[in-house]
């Protein structure tokens, strides 16, 4: 208790630099989700007035760690010390009250309320039973001014741009008088000038002694603001260095530095030079432009890049799920006109969504209904009467060939495991005799054994002459499974590389929009 009081006093009086103890320190944090261990004994510390970057691939444990810091999750092992005192936050509210605020990647604002109301949501200044509007407005104005942004407190959030919303989120964090600010991919939706504005604010915060945890995939922009960098991999702490003493290259190496074991089956496919499908000049306003690639018979083409770089968006455009504004898609020499998924499916193009449950499967329907959904005509007569025996027989055929583990073809998809659900989606498109398959993160949320089976399947499909596009955020997967890889950055393809002659580092360079360095 005494210690706590001393620490609190220290925040006011002592000069920032001289403060010997870290503002926030994590010791041996461990966290488990069912069978999966997300964090193994991770330690981390944050000083006053520093910007500390946390890097790692998707799934390295960054988000879990930050959720623990901000009180969303509680650690299974280890402890947190804030200003020298061991603490335990049971909720984000507690963490916020203590002075730790998190700005989420997906913004948590209420669109139909005003900026001021959002900033003080659930903490509105009151006068008796009523909200003190004047105080609310004044407080919000003060926060926004401190940020130097030109947003009216009375404006409704839904009328703001994404960047402005980001600023409102930051203003909200400031209004909490946060001493620790966690920013998760704050620049992912900002333009260059907006990013600069944000960096100015971050410098301002540093000077005020706020500790900033900065999570970003954009390593190239970190040089402007980051003091130290911690790398996580597979839920473990890899390194913590002064940013000035390290290089982007060595950070990337440490991020991806996982030895490639036999996680991937040997390739049986024989890539040819025959072009199966070609896409040219594909564009959708403000999402991607000038997308062009060729898919060859017998190959697996990878789509690499960061989340939101346009990989999924381009695939969905080819599939007609979100029709493009411009572009030519040719399949087997024929120019296709695709305005809807129905058109694409008719031509033999299939897209396997990254979010199976949301738009890949009707999980409350039986396996057999899901398998036949894209090809009902094949199992029904003229008047649309379903030939049930035939339908079930074909579903059973795929249950056997894809080794789907299910008690019966009539089992509800909801009750299957993630890997088997994925196989059901694949079965749906194989039953439709697809010629080109876009696999969007096909192994997300699937355990290792099932992953191997999916990889084998991708290889077999390619060997049968089906064009396979593998969209993946996991670089090892891209390197282990593809023949060529198109790297996306900010809505463009920045490079198409031969997988055998490239490296994770090179792909990362293209993915972070720094092709010049990589080409050198």
């Amino acid at each position: 208790m005494q210690l706590h009081a001393a620490a609190s006093a220290g925040t006011v009086d002592s000069p920032r630099r001289a403060a010997p103890e870290p503002l926030l320190s994590l010791h041996g944090i461990g966290k488990r989700f069912l069978a999966v261990t997300a964090l193994h004994g991770v330690s981390f510390e944050l000083r006053r007035g520093e910007v500390h970057a946390v890097c790692g691939e998707n799934g390295a444990g960054k988000s879990t760690l930050m959720k623990i810091v901000s009180g969303q999750l509680q650690p299974d092992e280890g402890h947190i010390a804030f200003k020298g005192t061991r603490t335990r936050f049971a909720s984000t509210r507690e963490a916020e009250a203590a002075g730790i605020a998190m700005i989420h990647q997906e913004l948590n604002l209420v669109p139909h309320l005003s900026v001021a109301e959002n900033i003080f949501l659930a903490r509105e200044p009151r006068r008796g039973w009523w909200i003190d509007r004047a105080k609310l407005q004044a407080g919000a104005t003060a926060c926004l001014q401190r940020l130097g942004v030109d947003i009216a407190p009375a404006q409704l959030v839904r009328t703001l741009s994404v960047a402005q919303r980001q600023m409102v989120e930051i203003a909200k964090a400031l209004s909490l008088n946060a001493e620790v600010l966690i920013m998760d991919e704050p620049t992912s939706s900002l333009t260059e000038t907006e990013t600069e504005q944000l960096f100015k604010v971050i410098h301002e915060l540093k000077r005020a002694g706020v500790g900033v945890v900065y999570i970003s995939h954009r390593l190239d922009e970190m040089a402007h603001i980051v003091d130290r960098v911690t790398v996580l991999r597979d839920g473990r702490h890899v390194s913590t260095d002064d940013f000035a003493a390290t290089t982007v290259d060595s950070i990337v190496e440490r991020m991806v530095g996982r030895p490639l074991e036999d996680k991937f089956p040997p390739a049986t496919r024989m890539p040819t030079t025959e072009v199966l499908m070609s896409v040219r000049g594909l564009a959708r306003k403000q999402v991607f432009e000038g997308i062009g690639f060729e898919l060859r018979r017998g190959e697996i083409l990878g789509f690499a890049g960061l989340l939101g770089a346009g990989r999924t968006e381009a695939a969905r455009a080819v599939f007609g799920a979100d029709p493009p504004d411009a572009g030519v898609v040719q399949l087997g020499g024929q120019v296709l006109r695709i305005r809807s998924p129905r058109d694409a499916i008719r031509h033999g193009i299939a897209y396997l969504s990254e979010d199976r449950k949301h738009d890949g499967l009707a999980i409350d329907m039986p396996l057999v209904h899901n398998v036949s959904m894209a090809n009902m005509a094949a199992v029904s007569g003229r008047a649309g009467f379903i030939r049930f025996k035939e339908e079930e027989a074909s579903a059973r055929r795929f249950v056997d060939t894809l080794a789907i583990r299910t008690p019966s073809a009539r089992q509800l998809v909801r009750l299957l495991s993630g890997g088997n659900q994925q196989k059901v989606v694949i079965a749906k498109w194989l039953f439709r005799d697809s010629r080109v398959l876009f696999f969007d993160e096909p192994t997300r949320g699937i355990d290792v054994g099932a992953k191997y089976a999916i990889y084998q399947l991708l290889d077999e499909l390619a060997a049968q002459g089906i064009g396979v596009v593998l969209i993946s955020s996991e670089l090892p997967e891209i390197l282990g499974m593809t023949d060529r890889v198109a790297v996306f950055h900010a809505g463009r393809i920045t490079g198409t590389l031969d997988t055998r002659r490239t490296s994770q580092e090179e792909i990362m360079h293209f993915a972070s929009g720094r092709p010049a360095r990589a080409a050198a």
Partner: protein, 327 residues
């Protein structure tokens, strides 16, 4: 419990309550459990059942149709006006059906093309259709429609009448009323449509996961429009049958019937979040409501108390349904 057993349980629960109600009312009132009263109940249930069948299809797609009560009135008065204007009865009733179908089409287009929430689209249609029905009739009932118009609603098949020894006719068997036959035919036809055809499969698929259905190449728009057209057409049919039964076309007929239809579907296990529902369940649901009304009537329970009881029954059955899903 497997899902099959759960389904059986749900159906059994609705069916069990139906049987329990019948037993209780038979015990309380001597005249409840008789062929004559059975036919009366069946006849009373027909309107809810027709509308409920349509409502089930719409609700399975994840929508809702609030306009059927008003469409019923509009279709009924159009049919009556057409007959009054000299059209033969079958053609006049066809006009009623077409009006119903058109209203359903507008509903469907509002939902799919204008992307209005189904609740709002059909709420608008409910007011418009009712308004038109009142407008074209001057809010007056249309009478004097003749025997031909009354045949559909009042005729029956297999009526056996013996002339007694005293010379008065004695009804041995009241016959099965045409509306009841129609109800059976419709229930079977739509059940087959839902369970045995690709169209039915798509209706379930859309309700289960619209986006997955769309990305699987299902014509989501077309199928959704179909569901609303079916609901509208059945509302038109309900209007014709109901007005024929009364031999009067009332523009204010069918008030709140949409809620009875939805209640029947829900009692029968149709989920308002879509993807789940059966015609057999809805027919059972319609009978639960019908028997409650009839039995309470015979027991001398006031109309107000009836409402209270039916309201509670709906809450109870849906709560049981929720419990089933939570497990």
């Amino acid at each position: 419990m497997t899902d099959k057993q759960k389904d059986l349980f749900q159906k059994f629960a609705a069916l069990a309550s139906l049987i329990a109600l019948t037993a209780v009312f038979s015990f309380v009132s001597d005249s409840f459990f008789s062929v004559g009263n059975g036919m009366t109940v069946a006849l009373q249930v027909t309107s809810i059942a027709y509308l409920g069948i349509g409502a089930t299809c719409v609700i399975i797609t994840g929508g809702i149709d609030l306009s059927v009560g008003a469409i019923l009135a509009l279709a009924g008065v159009v049919a009556a006006l057409a007959v009054k204007a000299g059209l033969p009865v079958p053609l006049g009733m066809l006009c009623g059906l077409v009006v119903g179908a058109l209203c359903g089409l507008v509903n469907g287009l509002c939902v799919t093309l204008l992307k209005l929430p189904p609740f709002i689209a059909t709420l608008g249609m409910m007011m418009v259709a009712r308004g038109v029905a009142l407008q074209i009739t001057d809010a007056k009932a249309i009478g004097g429609l003749g025997e031909g118009f009354a045949a559909l609603g009042n005729g029956s098949l297999g009526r056996v009448v013996k002339i007694g020894t005293d010379g008065f006719p004695d009804v041995v068997f009241p016959g099965i009323p045409y509306p009841v036959l129609l109800m059976i035919a419709l229930a079977v036809a739509v059940a087959v449509l839902l369970n045995r055809t690709t169209l039915g499969r798509f209706i379930y698929a859309i309700g289960s996961n619209t986006e997955a259905a769309r990305l699987s190449g299902v014509d989501v728009r077309g199928v959704t429009v179909f569901a609303y057209v079916l609901s509208g057409t059945l509302a038109g049919l309900t209007g014709c049958v109901l007005m024929s039964r009364l031999v009067t076309a009332q523009p204010s007929e069918g008030l709140m019937y949409e809620l009875d239809a939805i209640a029947a579907a829900v009692i029968g296990g149709t989920s308002l979040s879509g993807g789940v529902g059966t015609i057999s369940g809805t027919v059972i649901g319609a009978f639960v409501i019908g028997i409650l009304r009839n039995g309470l009537n015979m027991g001398g329970v006031s109309a107000f108390t009836q409402q209270i009881i039916i309201g509670l029954v709906i809450l109870l059955t849906v709560w049981i349904d929720q419990m089933r899903h939570r497990r």
